[in-house]
Symmetry: C2
Subunit: 464 residues, 2 copies
């Protein structure tokens, strides 16, 4: 029996069509080379934990590598296919199993789309905070596997803060249940948080127990415009160190403002060098934003105003969420259909924001590339985006050098190479530099303990 | 060269005096048997990471087990000595290395006392929330190793939420640095949170980077008295599911009220069957507590009032913190000098609080033991305390059965065997029952990956 025979016996709808497999080959990352996408053997779309376990057992018996996939909205190549691998697509496991209102938790399958869960719990007056820009498409399983962030994190934290418990299919096909349904718990090692953010390299997540919060008050959103990116960065540091505690603190530079306005005209202030969006969702939000306004003006803001109503605030947030397609469009407008965007994901100490922003502008000038800066500035988590054209070797090289310059700068000022997107393929070398040889040794030891044959998403996070 | 020769060469002040070693033999747990305390070989008191690494290397070379110790205020036997072990006492590593006000973080050595750090950061307008009752004695290293909780957790979470990064001496004496100084970060596996709560079984923590918060407003404290423990439990569920978000929600039963009043007379309402302490530390706390008052009255509170001033509120919290010595005193008053207190640490879904409280009262009656109930009710985290006298075999057996009854009940309603104290020696069997064979296998795999010779606090958390 070949592996395909075994798989077909268990999964009559086994996917082996080359075109479909090619369409499943990549996540949403633009990488520096095409060589990072492998040709998979087949794909399964299980509907239950038992089916995931069966797929893993068959693959393991034949030493076939396994790549778990969700909505493939990731930005690091973490869900990219590997040569000869079995793709385990979790999109059919999309059931909200339980919403426990009294204990404020939900139990979901990994394929539930983030926005679907948000809407379902909102009907009960509950709130699931993590909101990656992809939240209308990305799944909770992928969010958990990458420990996704979003715009809420400056107040509400990232995905891992909401994961109480997990069910995970391990590399041998056995099923682990870890974590809890209670608010607190310290029974044994924190396996739950070891699997969160492990990017499919330690196990396949098949069920997630999530903590929820009460829906916050509607809140207010402030817009501040600046004549330089550095001034906006200085305002960010002033706001975050003030203790005013915003529920959103986003930065967009002029490259983004113009790209988004070109992509979907809505009257954005394209003449500004940088814009901050600052929200507060507590009782007394107006007083909080009055403090923010003062801090922005002191940092040199040229214009500050509070969005007149919820619709305007929502439109500004929606504009922010369009940044990725808008920048891709800008790259294609600039370079033709082969235009692409390489997204950085640096997190730096919040006190460094002004200098960091200014340094990125210098790197763009030195390397002769266009870099748009935006991000969750309140967390010190920026996404510089480098425009690139892979058909142009000189530009590709310049973009790669700019990417490395930014990574190098990030680490040199006490930052981390990935704030929320993860390591995947794109950051493996930088992970190794960031955590050093002892850190890499511990990573390899844990990987080997849980996946001794290196079958689960091999080569992701840790280079083979 | 014997291990003592090697140790003495590196540590001229090596402790081998039997009386001192005996005094270091135990943490603050009353266990069911004396057999759980071993006789150590020696103790070192390192003052640097390098010295910790040197001690580990020497011990490892001679296959001598190692028990890390902080203030030995733990309540599970986790820091108890083991026969022939080297005790690594971290009390001299008590330096606050850095307080970074702009980025709201602190870097500390493990021996810094919790209260010392709290006071140091308060001078900068900052707040380190985790507040185990032992906070005037217990150390940050021990708090991190056990993932300690406290009264703040209902709003602010437990220790792990504040640990950004760690330096850890591994079983081979190498030094790992993991985590980050930034707000967000997903670079690789979450090793930091794997070490948090690992109770010295995976490595010895030698430096901790902690997130801080702005000091909250002073707040208000409400007292609610009830004619039954069940009614108080029902009020807890009503408050936690209301979304009012208290900053403290503590429950004390009549056994505790009377024990504390006898230990330190302060006019506690000893005629009540149960008391809730509920605080709010936001702007508009009075409106929040008005909601709490309504919910308490609806649940059958016999009396509800708001503490008249900060002194009264502080006195009530201080009374709550006296519960452990007060109950020990009650045990000794009841049974003589051999009286002891076995502390449970159950966390259950908050919706179960009323039934759970009532069930504990039934267990006490059925087993013929005195059980005082108190705890962080807002988290569903209760500490039933069983009075015991080890010189009385029948009572010891009854106490043990009551302990097991409560654990069994906790797990049967979806709770966890330890909400914040940890596993140590006292909960090893219950951990195994809670997480099952696959969970235990993963625990052993990770332990073996990081400590292949099983030298770090062997037999704690996971039975040998």
């Amino acid at each position: 029996m070949t592996v395909l025979d075994d798989l077909r016996a268990a999964f009559p709808d086994l996917v082996t069509d080359p075109d479909i497999l090619t369409s499943l080959g990549r996540d949403s990352a633009d990488l520096f080379g095409d060589d990072k996408t492998g040709r998979p053997l087949a794909a399964v779309r299980p509907t239950s934990t038992e089916q995931v376990a069966a797929a893993v057992r068959i693959a393991a018996a034949h030493r076939v590598p396994i790549v778990p996939q969700g909505a493939r909205t990731g930005l690091t190549g973490g869900a990219n296919a590997i040569d000869g691998a079995l793709l385990v697509c979790l999109d059919r496991m999309d059931r909200i199993i339980e919403i426990d209102v009294a204990n404020r938790l939900a139990v979901v399958q990994p394929g539930v789309v983030n926005a679907t869960l948000r809407r379902a719990v909102a009907e009960h007056g509950l709130f699931y905070p993590p909101d990656p820009s992809s939240y209308e498409m990305s799944t909770i399983g992928g969010n958990v596997a990458t420990n996704a962030g979003g715009m809420c994190c400056v107040k509400y934290g990232v995905t891992t803060e909401y994961v109480l418990g997990l069910e995970v299919v391990l590399a041998d096909g056995s099923v682990l249940r870890c974590g809890r349904r209670t608010v607190k718990g310290v029974a044994g090692y924190d396996l739950t948080r070891l699997f969160v953010g492990s990017e499919g390299t330690l196990g396949i997540i098949t069920e997630i127990t999530l903590a929820l919060r009460p829906v916050p008050p509607p809140g207010l959103t402030l817009v501040a415009l600046f004549g330089s990116l550095r001034d906006a960065g200085a305002a960010v540091t002033a706001i975050t160190s003030s203790g005013v505690g915003p529920s959103m603190l986003e930065l967009l530079d002029k490259v983004h403002l113009r790209a988004i306005e070109a992509y979907r005209p809505m009257g954005l202030p394209v003449e500004a060098e940088a814009m901050l969006l600052v929200a507060s969702d507590v009782e007394g939000a107006d007083a909080k934003l009055a403090v923010v306004e003062q801090l922005c003006r002191a940092a040199g803001a040229t214009e500050v105003y509070v969005a007149s109503d919820a619709e305007e605030a929502e439109a500004l947030q929606a504009a922010r969420r369009l940044s990725h397609p808008a920048m891709t469009k800008l790259a294609q407008t600039t370079y033709g259909p082969s235009g692409e965007v390489i997204i950085e994901d640096c997190a730096v100490p919040r006190s460094s924001m002004a200098d960091f922003c200014a340094a990125i502008e210098r790197i763009a000038a030195q390397r002769g590339v266009t870099i748009g800066v935006l991000g969750h500035a309140g967390d010190g988590n920026l996404h510089p985006k480098i425009l690139m054209d892979r058909t142009n070797p000189a530009l590709t090289e310049a973009a790669k050098l700019a990417f490395d310059d930014i990574m190098q700068l990030t680490l040199s000022i006490g930052g981390t190479c990935t704030g929320e997107h993860g390591v995947g393929l794109i950051k493996r070398d930088w992970l190794a530099r960031e955590i050093g040889p002892v850190g890499m040794r511990v990573h390899r030891a844990i990987k080997a303990a849980l996946d001794p044959a290196n079958l689960l998403n091999p080569g992701k996070v840790i280079a083979d």
